[in-house]
């Protein structure tokens, strides 16, 4: 069974049909790409999957259960995490605290326990901190744990966003243009990182990306969206040769 399945997902903003009858399925542990020209509706698809928007019609199934129309925090708790195209870190918090925020929904300590701080509170707090530090170490951010998130260089902020998303312990990770603004060297590092995340965390990854080198290099299957409609879907080699895709990107001869 597919981990995530979109069935005729459609979203309409007033007169604008942003996404139309989109269908695709992501398998467990798959690296899946979503590409399309600017304004094709890729980020809208992300927002639809994560509950920021709910689809006007159609269905989104996660692990076989419908998630469309649910609140974002419910969807996050069910195992879908994301990063943002324009980085959205908690800027006044430290790097470590940013990651710790994701552990809050798993916390068993209520308000009273947090005020009175018994041994169980400290045990859990320590466990969450250790877990967060291990995660930061994987992203080479552990040395910067106490720095303000806003003081990190751009590339590190992108990595921190991924670390923070992984701290929610997702089964599906959505990356929204992670290579944006990166030079070729950084983009190559990112590709290695994405594969490593999939292998170490056993997650499926849905990638929206404009950098074709990254998408073609890392994804196993790609869905192409133009004007909110799926026009092609397949392995990178097939997509590269697809006439409709070439037309959408380069125009007709």
């Amino acid at each position: 069974m597919a981990l995530l399945r979109l069935q005729n997902a459609t979203i309409r903003f007033g007169g604008l049909l942003a996404v139309k009858d989109l269908c695709f399925a992501i398998e467990e542990g798959e690296l899946f790409g979503l590409i399309g020209p600017n304004g094709a509706g890729k980020t809208t698809v992300f927002n639809m999957i994560t509950g920021v928007y709910s689809p006007t019609s159609g269905a989104i199934l996660f692990d076989g259960k419908p998630i469309h129309g649910k609140a974002p925090h419910v969807i996050a708790a069910s195992g879908i995490a994301r990063t943002f195209q324009n980085i959205r870190l908690f800027t006044s918090m430290s790097v470590l605290e940013n990651v710790l925020v994701s552990a809050h929904m798993r916390s068993s300590q209520g308000v009273l326990a947090s005020v009175f701080r018994g041994p169980a509170f400290h045990r859990e707090e320590t466990a969450h901190r250790e877990e967060a530090m291990r995660l930061l170490a994987l992203f080479q951010l552990d040395k910067l744990a106490d720095e303000a998130a806003s003081s990190l260089p751009y590339g590190s902020q992108r990595r921190l966003e991924i670390a923070r998303a992984l701290a929610t312990k997702p089964r599906l990770l959505l990356l929204d243009e992670p290579a944006a603004g990166m030079n070729p060297q950084e983009a190559a590092d990112l590709m290695r990182l994405i594969r490593r995340i999939r292998d170490e965390f056993k997650v499926s990854i849905l990638l929206v990306e404009h950098n074709m080198k990254v998408v073609m290099g890392v994804c196993e299957r790609i869905q192409v969206v133009v004007h909110g409609e799926g026009i092609a879907m397949g392995a990178p080699a097939e997509i590269r040769k697809d006439a409709k895709v070439i037309e959408a990107y380069l125009g007709r001869e």
Partner: protein, 349 residues
């Protein structure tokens, strides 16, 4: 063990201070003693109001401008309890000495005030905090005025005449016990995963909910806790002044509390304390300037806002650094097995 010791030592310190303050200021040689005592009490009440409002406005980033409304609900609720049910409560605990009876009445009034304001906070918070934006500001402003007008028309609590005949049950000890309680509550919450959730909501609501935080629930939670403490402050206020009038609870009072936390540093507990003390003491200190008093006071506020827009203390939190140091020490003592670097690290301090 340590915790019990800490609570006991806080209580005995407050008891000792209560004795000292009473002998020095009320029964003592200082000429204007009772006047200073009153400033001390009002400063304490204002600290509770400022620190509690700071949880909503500074830490969770939701702008409430109706804190005086909750202050009023608590004050009138508690006063009604001790005025109407006081004799009955005393009858029930008649076996206690007089001081014990006083405490029982006050504690019940406090509980009633806390309950009533928490409920009011829930009723105001749930509809207005579901929406993003400035709805909370609008609704709380309206709430504050509605409550004031409502009370003005309830004859059982004195209406426009004011509520008189409230027993004097509150004193330095109770007020500063509440100050300790509000600082401990907000401070500990701030250093827990709830505190991080509140700040995450303030920093970026969309990212916070994408990380699994139920944004509405946490906003309402912060709002209810802060309303509850405002209500308890109201209880101690009424039982100190022995008379309540709606004029003490206009929106001007709400803005005064907002100014306290803005002056001290939005989001910082020490800042809220400092702001509350300053705004209680400054107007009194300028009394000698007679009619120029409010001008000087306003000028002082404007100057602070120009030269320290982040507030006097800004976001710097002494408590937070203290917490980091304590966690580091705990790890060093080996109470908890630590494999990763000492959690929040000694270099935080």
């Amino acid at each position: 063990m340590k915790r019990i010791f800490f609570v006991l030592s806080t209580l005995s310190l407050l008891g000792l201070l209560q004795w000292g303050v009473t002998t020095l200021l009320l029964d003592g040689p200082i000429r204007q003693g009772p006047y200073y005592y009153q400033i001390l009490i009002l400063a304490g009440i204002n600290i509770v109001l400022a620190v509690s409002l700071n949880l909503t406005n500074g830490i969770a980033g939701q702008f409430s401008i109706g804190h005086a409304g909750f202050f009023a609900v608590g004050a009138y609720m508690a006063a009604s309890v001790s005025y109407y049910a006081g004799p009955a409560i005393r009858g029930l605990v008649g076996f206690l000495p007089l001081a014990g009876q006083d405490a029982a009445v006050l504690l019940l009034a406090l509980a009633a005030a806390a309950l009533a304001t928490a409920l009011a906070g829930l009723l105001v918070g749930i509809p207005s905090l579901r929406l993003r934006g400035d709805y909370l500001a609008i609704v709380t402003l309206g709430f504050g005025e509605i409550i004031r007008v409502l009370i003005l028309n309830i004859d059982a609590v004195g209406g426009a005449r004011g509520f008189s005949g409230i027993p004097k049950l509150s004193n330095f000890f109770w007020v500063y016990l509440l100050v300790a309680a509000v600082i401990a509550t907000v401070g500990n919450l701030l250093r827990s995963s709830y505190g991080r959730a509140f700040i995450a909501i303030r920093e970026n609501e969309i990212a916070a909910q994408a990380m699994g935080i139920d944004v509405t629930r946490h906003k309402v939670l912060a709002f209810v806790i802060s309303s509850m403490f405002a209500g308890m402050a109201g209880c101690l206020f009424g039982h100190y002044t022995m008379y309540l009038h709606t004029n003490s609870f206009t929106f001007v009072k709400s803005f005064e509390i907002i100014i306290m936390i803005a002056i001290g540093g939005l989001g910082s507990i020490e800042g809220a304390v400092l702001g509350a003390v300053l705004l209680t003491v400054l107007p009194e200190a300028f009394r000698g300037f007679e009619s120029y008093r409010m001008i000087i006071y306003s000028l002082a506020l404007i100057l602070i806002m120009i030269y320290r827009p982040q507030g006097i203390l800004g976001q710097a939190s002494v408590l937070k650094r203290l917490g980091a140091r304590m966690a580091a020490r705990r790890s060093a003592q080996g109470n908890v097995p630590v494999t990763a670097p000492a959690a929040d690290g000694g270099n935080g301090g």
